[in-house]
Symmetry: C2
């Protein structure tokens, strides 16, 4: 956040800044979704609360989506529409975490996770991961860290900040390891759909007992619409219903009606075009960074992030990011935003900028490194 504010100040001074620090797609909301919202408003349709779990038609559409992606049906009653993935995290952690409970999670990881866990009264326990395991938690690591206070794990694949995807075999073994200890697996799948190698696996394709967090923000291009969802096991449906009613009454209504259009053939084609655009940017960025000498030992196969080792250029990623911004006008996020482990030796590049801008950024970085 400090980098973003600093970048805005530079822009206010008239400088051109290339934003590779922002975790928000630069594509606007797809036209079919905007058109659905316009239609809903023009027809004077319902804008009051929806049922706490969401519009039945949208829960069904998501159920079908799971069937299509993983071949495994998910009962629509298990799907809860929420105000963004943030709401889904609040819901799931509110359900599972009691004071004193511990959850395991990867370091580096999404910086809000520990705060959400603490707000629910629990204790986040981060486990160091690095490129040797694709920045993924491993079964043996989980087994070794498990204590009597541990209630489960919270993982993300594709991961923010690393863009890495957990392979099926690891995912299965992780779920098995947690299940053996009667713990919970909370799988944040907010970057699903944005994959450039093998498709990321939903935890639901492995286990009906997983808790899943997802959102229309990233792949579906609906950040400001604040619409996410949680999937809970059958036994948690009633409690989730009550908690959703308490926590947020319902997710935004117009966003839900608009999201019904997200699954049309027309929109799916648009999303595929965007995924391909991300894929091309990724190639350009990875090749460029490798050519400049950044360390790229983990495969960044998903999301829109590359987590690059910058220790060859500077011992402190915060200093590196600040100087890169001030001197070259390229904004990236230092690893220290995502944890402690290897944090000083990494920076995150988001390819939420166009290919010409990415080329320009690479050019600027080259000059900066040569200076």
């Amino acid at each position: 956040m400090e980098i973003l504010e600093r970048a805005r100040r530079h822009e206010a001074d008239g400088r051109d800044i290339i934003h590779m620090e922002i975790g928000e797609p630069d594509f606007p909301t797809p036209p079919a979704i905007v058109a659905a919202a316009q239609h809903h408003l023009a027809e004077g349709c319902h804008l009051g609360y929806t049922p706490a779990g969401g519009l039945p038609a949208l829960r069904q559409a998501l159920s079908n989506y799971y069937g299509e992606r993983s071949g495994r049906a998910v009962d629509p009653r298990r799907i809860f529409l929420t105000p963004g993935a943030s709401g889904a995290l609040s819901l799931v952690l509110g359900l599972l975490v009691d004071p004193g409970d511990e959850l395991l999670l990867a370091d580096p990881g999404y910086p809000c996770y520990p705060n959400f866990i603490r707000l629910a009264g629990g204790s986040p326990r981060t486990l160091a991961v690095d490129s040797r395991t694709g920045f993924n938690l491993t079964p043996s690591q989980i087994a070794a860290a498990w204590t009597s206070s541990t209630r489960g794990i919270l993982l993300a694949s594709p991961s923010n900040p690393t863009g890495t995807v957990m392979p099926r075999s690891t995912f299965e073994a992780v779920i098995q390891t947690v299940g053996d200890r009667t713990g919970y697996v909370i799988s944040d799948e907010i970057y699903h759909g944005l994959e450039y190698g093998e498709a990321a696996l939903s935890a639901l394709a492995i286990s009906d007992e997983a808790f899943v967090i997802n959102s229309f923000s990233k792949y579906f291009g609906m950040t400001g619409w604040r619409l996410g969802w949680a999937v809970v096991p059958e036994w948690a449906v009633e409690a989730a219903e009550r908690l959703a009613q308490n926590l947020f009454i319902s997710a935004p209504t117009l966003s839900q009606y608009a999201a019904l259009a997200a699954f049309s053939d027309e929109n799916r084609e648009e999303l595929e075009r965007r995924r391909l655009a991300f894929s091309e940017r990724r190639e350009v960025l990875l090749q460029g960074l490798a050519g400049l000498g950044f360390g790229l030992s983990a495969r960044a196969d998903g999301a829109f992030y590359v987590y690059a080792d910058s220790s060859g250029f500077a011992p402190d990623s915060e200093v590196f990011a600040r100087e890169l911004l001030d001197q070259a006008g390229v904004a990236v996020t230092p690893g220290t935003d995502f944890g402690l482990h290897g944090a000083l030796s990494h920076v995150r590049f988001a390819y939420t900028a166009s290919i010409p801008r990415i080329h320009l950024a690479l050019e600027r970085i080259r000059h900066f490194l040569q200076a």
Copy 2:
């Protein structure tokens, strides 16, 4: 909630049910607000995240609104747009409540309060109130209940379920009492604007140290848009900014742009027409209930609720509400939804139905009571 589900089942069976159990205005979102959203979509404007605190223009509009209503300016930086009042409650309780902290609140009251407090790791401590104090907490009651674990109070004026408004002298004395104990006042003002006697006072008109919860849902007719706000004291601005960023990233973007139109003269006139319509319904309902013999000893001067004593007809409000629904097709909420104190002897009527429907409900209740 049980009554609502039961009512829906009757409707599915083809019966006509008069809904006086629903805490949502039956008016649609005002046309000026819908038109602003349509315009925003048609112009292809920004639909990504807003700053965590909300659109600067909307924070300024709310600041002006406070100046106008209470004659006391509120720095826009202290105002945080949230996903509904629910988000504002999460934000404020997340800021203030640590594990073991106790908050005082009135019984009867909004049933979600205790759950929000528990989710934040705190302990709700409800204090019995009744019609003799207009269902308001009193300074002496607060002073007597205060312990070393007490961190503050959470109050609502106008109140749900009672519709009562806290008089200025009580409000000032309550804030003084809590302030003397260096506690926090959290004032839920979600029904502000819907007053039929004197205007309800904002805690901000008395103290810059109060935490305020409010929303565009009720008075502004925007329930499904999920847009609320919190006002925090100057010293809490930075922490609130960080927590908002963590908890929900930002409030729904289109809802924020639409809400900018809420303060136009045209829309204010529409809102005043609606307030007058509520006022007329209130008169009809109060006179009708009094004529039927319900106890109405507190002045229901705000919101759209009448909390009526039904103990002259039945010893158990749950049984009474169920029979009234099953036999007469009128849905009301039993007092047991709002706490324990006097809960079996009261039911809540929401006048979120038209005057002809309220007349019909009164007629049906008369038949039911005579049967």
